[in-house]
């Protein structure tokens, strides 16, 4: 049993884009605020702070999540990857290229979150259907584009990832991301 106050300053350690981070922050502030205001890592954007826009998405232990909903006291030990740290995932280049070609974004403030959602989906599900794409992007709000340009980019990315997967599996290569996520939430152990 441990107990602290939400305003207490907490020591936390986690990895950020592969780098070990040790820092302190008030226990109740969000991971978004830790990244932006404590670590000055502003590549993760801040939108609504209640998990309703997706601007702050990061990969936490391999899953796309809203960093504004994770409080400092829940971060310790996690593996965090931001939109600027996706290079290690093999499909990131494909996704980014497809989105750029289709002119998917305008102001771009939502883009890091969308890219997180897409890379998470296509890493896990290289044969994603259009409906999978929609489901993966439901939690990302974009106010500029009306979504069709993003969908065109996402579909192009998905098609290329499918081809890439077919080619790499033919060459007996593994598809798994280099940074393998610890199996936590989606396990179905007895």
């Amino acid at each position: 049993m441990s107990e602290l106050l939400s305003t207490d300053t907490l020591s936390i350690a986690f990895t950020l884009n592969g780098e070990a981070i040790e820092t302190t922050a008030p226990a109740e502030i969000s991971l978004t605020r830790i990244l932006r205001d404590v670590l000055f890592r502003t590549e993760t954007k801040i939108g609504c702070e209640i998990g309703r826009c997706g601007a702050c998405m990061v990969l936490m232990n391999g899953q796309a999540i809203n960093s504004c909903l994770v409080m400092a006291w829940q971060v310790d030990g996690a593996e965090i990857i931001t939109g600027a740290g996706l290079e290690k995932l093999p499909i990131t280049g494909i996704v980014r290229q497809a989105l750029a070609e289709e002119s998917s974004f305008q102001c771009g403030y939502c883009a890091p979150g969308f890219v997180i959602s897409l890379v998470a989906l296509l890493s896990e599900e290289p044969d994603a259907t259009n409906d999978d794409l929609m489901t993966a992007l439901e939690g990302n709000i974009c106010r500029c584009t009306g979504y069709h340009s993003i969908l065109r980019g996402a579909k192009l990315a998905a098609a290329r990832v499918r081809d890439f997967g077919a080619r790499t599996s033919a060459a007996q290569k593994t598809y798994a991301p280099e940074t393998k996520a610890p199996e936590t939430a989606v396990s179905e152990q007895a």
Partner: protein
């Protein structure tokens, strides 16, 4: 206030802590709902007890014919479970409608149940779920239904036990939300109906979701059991169900709506044949199909070919490498925070900041006393204080601000500021605001502005009419909803001035406004306004800048500040809500005779651009149609309802909604198709504008009608309809004025320079807010100069580095870029060729500009003889090759009122599906034809079209900032519903008619607003095509649409 965060080691310990900590303590597992609850202003719990680590609360496993799901399993885990799929697929169907995928990665099944409001509860009740509970007297199991009925005794849900679904039972779940996805429930329903040989043998019906208490409908179940399914009286049963559903009203949906739609949804689930009845559609008379001879550009990447380019700022945005102005971080930066009063209307007596100033870490506190210049700003007239001195007029009004070493300290300091005040009567209704007896929001009275026009004999017009349509159209207080909230940073400069970096739409005007407030000469202020993460008009007025500037000057240090979304909701400008009463008359042939329009606009607390919005609405009061008699009146009222201002469309889209619905209604009355009705009334090219002003050539209204007639949507089949949907098609004409009009100054400067590194630097004091200013500059200059886009470095949005090009508003940016380019480039090209000729020892006439540099004009290879970098090296650094432009936005000659000269044209078609269960409208197709001159950059133009359409779709169907008596019922994105990717139409098709009349010197028309102009009436007319009635209030109220559906049956 701080909470205790407790992390017990066992469930038993957790339960003990909960009992001891009292009723305001909460278990925390995924904790996805906590922040949303706090943001609604509910107090934080006294303690959070972390239960996320207990192994015992995990696992999904079979127990005989049950599945046991650990309470801390996430919804994603439930959805991904093969076991759950096999045993109770209904739960998966329901779970897929909770939140969004990333929320479901953390939200737990136990949480959805334990909060007692989750929208899974009806499904779980229909599935006969039991809960495994840890209580003070040990572990026990209880039926979910019984647990819900009991008062909340301290217990911990350890697992959820769900029996195998019965193969002879039909299961169904339906969630009615507030938009297509990622939405709270208006109501959710579930049913399990068992039958043998056509006789109903068992029934479990449940409702819940959102504010609807999770409830089983026992009386209905008992009534159904034993009945022959084929003989059930569904209609009377529907009424019985509606009576029994315990549904409260809230700001978003009425009790009656929840009851009706809940009952409809249950009946649709139970009577499986009920929903699929064929629908009569197509009430609107179809236009005669026309052969279209228009040479339109299809706006797609594939059709665009080599006109399609990757915009220069996009790769960095996608790689999360672009630094926005709110992203700047430095160790020496202080953090600012703003104090507001929780009263929408109050007299202030005193502001005591001494305790705040004394708090360690606080570096500056500012109030109105620190203002050296005028405590007033505003684009049209200066009625808004930078910091309130004696009065607060809306909840967003700032009273004081703090700069401190970190955000937590700044927020703490705000709590130490004491404000003496007296609440004043709140002015919450614009009509009432204009009654003489109502409390005055401003000393000048509550009528912020008014405008009237009368011409022709309106009385005789109505007297002669064969048909008169009168209706009142209501439009919402739409929020811009840019993803980057208002913010940035400011720092003092060495010359005693200030540099400020904050998203905006006209840096030079921000600078002029700041100079007045700060009493600092304009030339000592630098304003940087790009890149901005979305504007749409909402960053046109000053936002954070006055407070940021004052804090930086007083602290003599850099200060950053970004409004939270909640602050942005209450403090930022919004679209002025309109009530438009419109009475339109025509003769038996459909020719208009009279148009009478009365607009009442809610200005909120301050004018900002509200008077301009009202005046623009007035200028569009007849749309592109000719009426021999016209009478208009517009009034803008001050209230305490937030504050209004500019928003894409700027009054024109509201008015277009009204007119274009009137035209369809008159067409129906006359027995004409919508195109013929419009054709009979359309202005002819070359006629004076609505105010009698001279207007620009290249009108394309008849061409747009032709495009509409040729649309395939009129003949669409219903293959994409879901069971129980009505379908309809509608159209509306687009007519949108560009520029600021004849009265305001509307001028622009620009500059082009060959920079020392060989880049061609093109400087415009416009802002890149996402619309594609940077690719537009590259495209325009590259096309005119002959170089490559990559040779060009656009420089924008910085008063130090760019000349004043006017505002990035009013669809004027595209023209300014094009015109500046036309004026600068020939002289610049001449100077480059002359210099190159000098260096190369050739004649300038024998040289040309090519990609990368200067080439031999006679050579086919296009290989540069001299690169731009080599050319730049030969120029003295203090005298680079350069050219400038200084010009006026084209204006008309009419100055008795504000009149536009340039207009954009188009037509919007919409095809909708309307759900008879919920009254929700789903837009299947949007087709947009625009005629706005040559398209500068294809991808940017397409982006403006699609983005504006979907922003207009939000205005039409789901978006409204709700305020009651000055208090915001809308607080954040959990109760403001912008379209998600599931709300966007299945198909959007875009066409541009790019040609201009011979000799038309005015180039590209604006692309920024044209696409939002007529999407609302296109959708409304499509609804009327399906149902025979026109929705007149936006966002459409599903309750009203439901009534129309019933009437249409």
């Amino acid at each position: 206030m701080s909470m205790k965060i407790m992390r017990p080691d066992t469930p038993a310990e957790a339960l003990k802590l909960l009992s001891e900590a009292g009723p305001s303590a909460r278990f925390s597992a995924g904790s996805t709902a906590l922040q949303a609850e706090w943001s609604l202003g509910k107090p934080k719990p006294s303690a959070l007890i972390d239960i996320s680590r207990f192994k015992d609360l995990r696992g999904i496993e079979a127990h005989g014919d049950l599945v046991r799901i650990g309470a801390c399993e996430t919804l994603s885990a439930v959805i991904g479970s093969k076991l759950v799929t096999d045993i109770c697929p209904l739960l998966i169907e329901a779970a897929q409608r909770v939140g969004a995928k990333t929320i479901r990665h953390r939200a737990t099944l136990g949480g959805n149940v334990g909060w007692r409001t989750g929208c899974l509860l009806p499904a779980l009740l229909a599935l006969d779920t039991r809960l495994e509970l840890d209580t003070e007297s040990g572990r026990t199991t209880r039926a979910l239904e019984d647990w819900l009925a009991e008062p909340s005794a301290p217990n911990l849900i350890s697992s959820v036990l769900i029996p195998q679904q019965d193969p002879d039972t039909t299961y169904g779940f339906r969630k009615i939300g507030l938009r297509a996805a990622f939405t709270p429930s208006a109501i959710a329903v579930a049913a399990a109906l068992g039958a043998a040989d056509g006789t109903i043998t068992s029934a479990r019906l449940a409702v819940g979701g959102g504010p609807v208490p999770a409830t089983r409908l026992g009386a209905i179940e008992r009534e159904l059991v034993g009945q022959d399914h084929a003989k059930v009286e569904w209609t009377s049963l529907r009424d019985e169900i509606a009576d029994l559903i315990p549904a409260p009203s809230d700001a978003l949906r009425s009790s009656a709506y929840r009851k009706r739609t809940g009952a409809n949804a249950l009946i649709a689930l139970l009577a499986s044949n009920e929903a699929g009845r064929p629908q009569r559609t197509g009430r609107t008379i179809r236009p005669k199909p026309e052969e279209t001879t228009l040479d339109e550009t299809v706006l797609t990447r594939s059709a665009g070919g080599n006109r399609w380019h990757v915009r220069p700022d996009l790769p960095a945005k996608i790689a999360a490498e672009l630094t926005y102005l709110t992203d700047a971080r430095r160790e020496d930066m202080l953090v600012g925070a703003t104090l507001r009063l929780d009263e929408p209307h109050a007299r202030i007596f005193s502001v005591d900041v001494r305790e705040a100033e004394a708090l360690p870490g606080v570096k500056a506190v500012v109030t109105h006393k620190d203002i050296q210049g005028d405590n007033a700003f505003g684009i049209v007239f200066q009625d808004q204080p930078a910091l309130c001195a004696d009065k607060v007029r809306y909840l967003g009004d700032p009273i004081a601000a703090v700069a401190a070493t970190d955000r937590e300290t700044a927020l703490k300091a705000l709590n130490l500021i004491k404000v003496g005040y007296e609440a004043l009567p709140v002015v919450g209704d614009p009509a009432q605001a204009l009654d003489g007896d109502t409390e005055a929001v401003h000393e000048t009275g509550n009528l912020a502005s008014t405008i009237e026009i009368e011409r022709g004999d309106i009385d005789s017009g109505f007297a002669k009419a064969a048909h008169v349509i009168e209706a009142t159209y209501v439009t919402p207080r739409q929020m811009h909803g840019f993803m980057e909230t208002e913010g940035g940073y400011a720092e003092p400069t060495e010359d005693g001035g200030l540099a400020i970096f904050a998203g905006g739409q006209h840096g030079s005007r921000d600078r002029a406004q700041l100079a007045r407030i700060l009493a600092i000469p304009e030339d000592k202020i630098r304003v940087v306004t790009s890149p901005t993460g979305g504007g749409f008009g909402g960053k046109d007025e000053l936002t954070v800048q006055p407070v940021l500037a004052m804090l930086a000057l007083k602290a003599n240090a850099p200060v950053r500040m970004q409004w939270t979304r909640s602050e942005s909701v209450i403090a930022g400008t919004k679209r002025n809500p309109f009530t438009i009463r419109m009475r339109t008359a025509c003769d038996a042939t459909g020719k208009l005779l009279a148009q009478e329009v009365d607009v009442l606009a809610d200005g909120g607390a301050y004018a900002s651009l509200g008077p301009g919005v009202l005046e623009t609405a007035n200028e569009h009061a007849c749309g592109p149609y000719i009426s021999p008699s016209v009478k208009t009146r517009g009034r803008l009222a001050y209230t305490n309802n937030g504050t209004g201002g500019a928003f894409r469309g700027f009054g024109a889209n509201q008015m277009t909604f009204a007119i274009e619905c009137q035209m369809d209604r008159l067409a129906a009355a006359c027995g004409l198709d919508p195109i013929e009705m419009r054709r009979r009334n359309l202005r002819q090219p070359g006629m004076p504008g609505f105010l009698g002003q001279r207007v620009a050539p290249s009108e394309r209204l008849f061409e747009m009608l032709q495009a509409a007639a040729a649309s395939p949507l009129w003949q669409a089949d219903g293959a994409d309809l879901r069971p129980g949907e009505f379908a309809g098609v509608g159209m509306a004409i687009i007519y949108q004025g560009n520029g600021l009009g004849t009265i305001p100054d509307d001028e622009a400067k620009s500059r082009i320079v060959l920079a020392p590194d060989g880049k061609i630097e093109v400087q415009f004091g416009l802002d890149e807010m996402g619309q594609g200013l940077l690719p537009s500059i590259q495209a325009a200059v590259a096309d005119r100069l002959g170089c490559a886009r990559e040779d060009i470095r656009p420089v924008v949005g910085d008063t130090l580095r760019t000349p004043d090009s006017g505002s990035t508003t009013a669809s004027r940016g595209g023209y300014v870029v094009w015109k500046g380019t036309e004026l600068m480039v020939p002289a610049f090209a001449d100077s480059m060729l002359a210099k190159a000729a000098d260096i190369l020892g050739r004649e300038p006439e024998g040289l040309q500009v090519v990609a990368g540099g200067i080439a031999d004009a006679a050579s086919n290879s296009q290989a540069p003889l001299l690169t731009f970098a080599q050319l730049a090296e030969q120029c003295p650094p203090d005298a680079p090759l350069t050219a400038e432009a200084d010009f006026a936005f084209p204006k008309s000659d009419y100055t008795r009122g504000n009149a536009r000269f340039i207009f954009g044209f188009g037509v919007n078609l919409a095809r909708v599906a309307i759900d008879r269960v919920s009254g929700q409208v789903r837009v299947l197709d949007l087709e947009l034809h625009t005629a706005a001159g040559p398209v500068i950059d294809l991808a940017a133009y397409l982006g403006q079209m699609e983005g504006g359409l979907v922003q207009g779709l939000g205005f039409t169907l789901t978006e409204d900032v709700l305020i009651k008596d000055g208090r915001f019922l809308t607080t954040n994105y959990d109760n403001y519903f912008m379209p998600t990717i599931r709300d966007t139409p299945d198909r959007i098709t875009n066409f541009a008619l790019e040609d201009l009349d011979p000799g038309d010197p005015f180039g590209p028309r604006g692309a920024g607003e044209i696409s939002i102009n007529a999407v609302t009436p296109a959708i409304a007319n499509a609804v009327a095509d399906a149902l025979g009635q026109w929705p007149t209030a936006t966002p459409f109220r599903p309750e009203e649409i439901l009534t129309m559906c019933e009437a249409a049956e």
